[in-house]
């Protein structure tokens, strides 16, 4: 066991902290899930990119620093400790990029990744449909071959698309073989939202932000990949109009690559929860100084704080394994369940500290509302518990 950071890692942390201290906007930006706030966040994203902090673990050619997973953890820790803004580009970076790295052609990687890290292309996810939420394989949006136009024509409806009203592109699964069963016959499409036939309707989220959208597609043409020997400019223009990631009918596997990616959402950076735990502790100390902290409530603060530390340590173990080539596999469902429910507990403890003021629309209530989405999105915790039971513990499916 070696819990020390190398000199290079320490230097990385220093550089990162110094830059964040100098650049994190104050006062805090308005929510990135509102129209005005999103614009402000885009400026921040572009500043991050210019200083090469947008995607530290990516190759330099795509805007990254070739940072190790340890350095990525350090970056995240510093980012949350600095109270830096939420990442409105995260659905591209965490959900789509891993699949592009694994399944994209070199041409696709070269085209899409730099535009993503520079916050030029702004990606939202098109997983859920009105009748396909937890049951992702039930998607009914379809894509029909159009040989004359040299591509596919997409029709259907996607929903719960976070920040969809502010983004430029959507990625998602469409049924290309209507005769195949469920997981089969799906293809992973990339679609610009300014394509003809796309309509986006924003709607309100629990916390009052216009953070969700429905995306309607009506006979939207997505062109085939340009031939390898195509004129580069022409090829770029074609890819600007969208494309297919991975093989036709193989979209399920492409999508699943995200869910097991170590840089995906399942490995939520511990820094986020440790920063929240730290703020919780500060709040409890204020109450304590006022002589208004009950011991029972203090114990709930202790429990939540301990769990944030436990999550950080569990993640260190995961990352050690990944760095040494051992994938956590289905154990990543442990992470998803734990961080999402921890986040709720941290905020509940804070609201309890606020007592009669808890209902006021402050940062803790906002944070609580957001935390409540954690057990629902990215695979409900019911699904995650099934995965733990069946794939980690080995209980029978039926």
């Amino acid at each position: 066991m070696d819990l020390s950071w190398s000199d290079a890692e320490q230097a990385f942390r220093e550089e990162c902290r110094t830059w964040l201290e100098a650049n994190v906007p104050t006062p805090a930006l308005p929510s990135g899930d509102t129209r005005d706030g999103f614009a402000a966040h885009l400026e921040w994203e572009r500043a991050l990119h210019d200083a090469r902090w947008a995607v530290v673990s990516w190759p330099a050619q795509y805007g990254g620093r070739d940072a190790s997973l340890w350095e990525w953890l350090i970056f995240e820790e510093e980012y949350y400790r600095a109270g830096a803004p939420q990442r409105v580009t995260q659905n591209g970076i965490f959900l789509l990029a891993p699949s592009i790295f694994e399944f994209g052609t070199t041409a696709q990687q070269d085209h899409y990744l730099p535009r993503m890290s520079a916050a030029v292309d702004l990606w939202c996810q098109g997983w859920s449909e009105p009748n396909a939420g937890s049951d992702l394989a039930a998607v009914s949006s379809r894509a029909v071959r159009d040989d004359d136009a040299g591509g596919w024509r997409l029709t259907g409806q996607k929903t719960w698309t976070t920040r969809g009203a502010f983004c430029t592109h959507v990625f998602g699964l469409f049924r290309t073989d209507p005769t195949a069963e469920r997981h089969r016959g799906l293809t992973y499409f990339l679609v610009p939202l300014d394509s003809e036939g796309v309509t986006v309707r924003g709607f309100g989220r629990l916390d009052g932000d216009e953070g969700f959208a429905e995306v309607f597609l009506d006979d939207v043409l997505v062109p085939d990949e340009p031939p390898a020997d195509a004129d580069p400019q022409l090829a770029a223009a074609t890819m600007d109009r969208g494309g297919i990631l991975g093989d036709v009918h193989q979209g399920w596997g492409v999508a699943m690559a995200t869910t097991t990616s170590e840089r995906g959402l399942t490995l939520r950076s511990p820094g986020r929860f440790q920063a929240t735990a730290h703020r919780l502790l500060e709040l409890a100390r204020e109450r304590d100084a006022e002589g208004r902290l009950g011991a029972a409530l203090a114990d709930r603060v202790v429990d939540a704080w301990v769990d944030a530390e436990a999550y950080a340590l569990f993640t260190l173990g995961d990352v050690t394994g990944i760095v040494e080539g051992r994938s956590p596999g289905a154990r990543s469902s442990f992470n998803k369940i734990f961080w999402s429910e921890l986040d709720v507990r941290l905020h509940e403890a804070a609201l309890d500290l606020l007592g009669p003021d808890a209902e006021l629309d402050g940062p803790w209530m906002k944070g609580y509302e957001f935390a409540l989405s954690g057990p629902i999105y990215a695979g409900t915790n019911e699904i995650q518990r099934n995965i733990v039971a069946e794939r980690v513990l080995g209980l029978p499916r039926k």
């Binding site: 009748n131 609201l351 009669p356 209902e359 409900t380 019911e382």
Partner: protein, 347 residues
């Protein structure tokens, strides 16, 4: 021994339930968010029906009922998420003024205010001036329980005798404000003021507990309906055991909170010496049970529950707010510790 509403009480409750279902549907609650936090048609109908004056003595123009009659009606107000201040004004303040009728010096003002409450004016009780006061902006007055250096006082305070600092609640139908008092008419002092202050705090807590039970039942109804319809993996979501057990647990919690609320109403009505203890039991369990029901409801709805276009959030946010108002769970546990003789448990 009979632990159940009388037939008359059931009839009244059912009539109020029908009225509120008709006049306070989710759209009306949404309008209250966009407006001033009131649903005028429902309020007027409740006044018409005598609900606001239910606790007011007949001599003062009311129905002369008791806590036992009124508390079940507050459950119904909670069930539809009515944002109007029925519980503070028509229950807690009305009961306090009824006590004040017994004091010759206060009787005149008290009778006048009781009449006004019965006809729909709003008198908001304030027992903890540090906490946000809901409905302050549209109040016709405040029934103020103050701990002055000279001793406890109960006052009636006019709107122009206070300074208001409006606050934003997570529930747009509530309009909390911090209220600072600059004047007022002293109604009661001394021991009577002290006991009226305690009883008013108890009725505010019990009123919130009753509304919480209604909200809990409403959220569960919504959720049971949704998971019975919504299909995933080829079956209704509600057929999954994980969903069933979450909702069974939440329903169980709410089902066991209800009797504590009824019992506390009985104790208040009969002046049981342990009534404050019974109120704390009711508010504690209603708060924890309905928070539990809110969490289960949201989780079982999945993403749709997380949108403002769906109705769940209207009831959930009210439930959150009421669970903290008039004594959060920790505050009532602390009062119960004292009441049960565990007062020195402070390590």
């Amino acid at each position: 021994m009979r632990f159940e509403l009388t037939d008359d009480q059931v009839d009244l409750r059912d009539a109020v339930q029908a009225l509120l279902e008709d006049l306070c549907p989710p759209e009306a609650v949404r309008s209250a968010w966009d407006g001033d936090g009131r649903v005028p048609s429902a309020w007027d109908a409740l006044v018409e029906m005598g609900v606001l004056g239910a606790l007011v003595p007949e001599s003062a123009g009311g129905l002369g009922m008791t806590d036992e009659d009124v508390v079940p009606l507050l459950v119904e107000c909670g069930r539809v998420g009515l944002p109007d201040p029925v519980a503070p004004s028509g229950y807690a303040a009305a009961a306090a003024l009824t006590e004040a009728l017994g004091d010759p010096a206060a009787a005149g003002s008290a009778a006048e205010w009781l009449g006004r409450i019965a006809s729909g004016d709003v008198l908001i009780p304030v027992v903890d001036a540090a906490a946000p006061v809901v409905g302050a902006a549209s109040a016709d007055g405040f029934l103020w329980c103050a701990a002055e250096d000279a001793g406890p006082q109960v006052l009636v305070v006019a709107p122009d005798q206070v300074d208001l600092e409006p606050l934003q609640s997570v529930d747009g139908g509530r309009r909390p404000a911090r209220v600072v008092r600059r004047g007022g008419e002293v109604l009661l002092t001394g021991d009577v003021a002290r006991s009226v202050s305690v009883a008013t705090a108890d009725r505010l807590a019990l009123g919130a507990a009753a509304e919480l039970v209604g909200l809990g039942e409403r959220m569960l109804d919504l959720t049971v309906g949704y998971v019975g319809e919504r299909r995933q993996f080829g079956v209704p979501v509600g057929s999954f055991q994980a969903v069933k057990h979450q909702l069974a647990d939440a329903a169980l919690a709410v089902a066991f909170a209800g009797p504590l609320v009824s019992y506390a109403a009985h104790s208040m009505a009969h002046g049981d010496p342990d009534r404050s203890r019974h109120v704390s039991m009711a508010k504690l369990r209603a708060s924890t049970a309905v928070r539990h029901a809110a969490a289960a409801s949201l989780q079982c709805h999945g993403a749709i529950g997380y949108t403002v276009e769906y109705d769940l959030h209207l009831y959930m946010k009210r439930a959150w707010a009421l669970s903290y108002e008039h004594g959060d769970p920790d505050a009532h546990r602390a009062r119960l510790r004292d009441s049960l003789g565990l007062a020195s448990g402070r390590n």
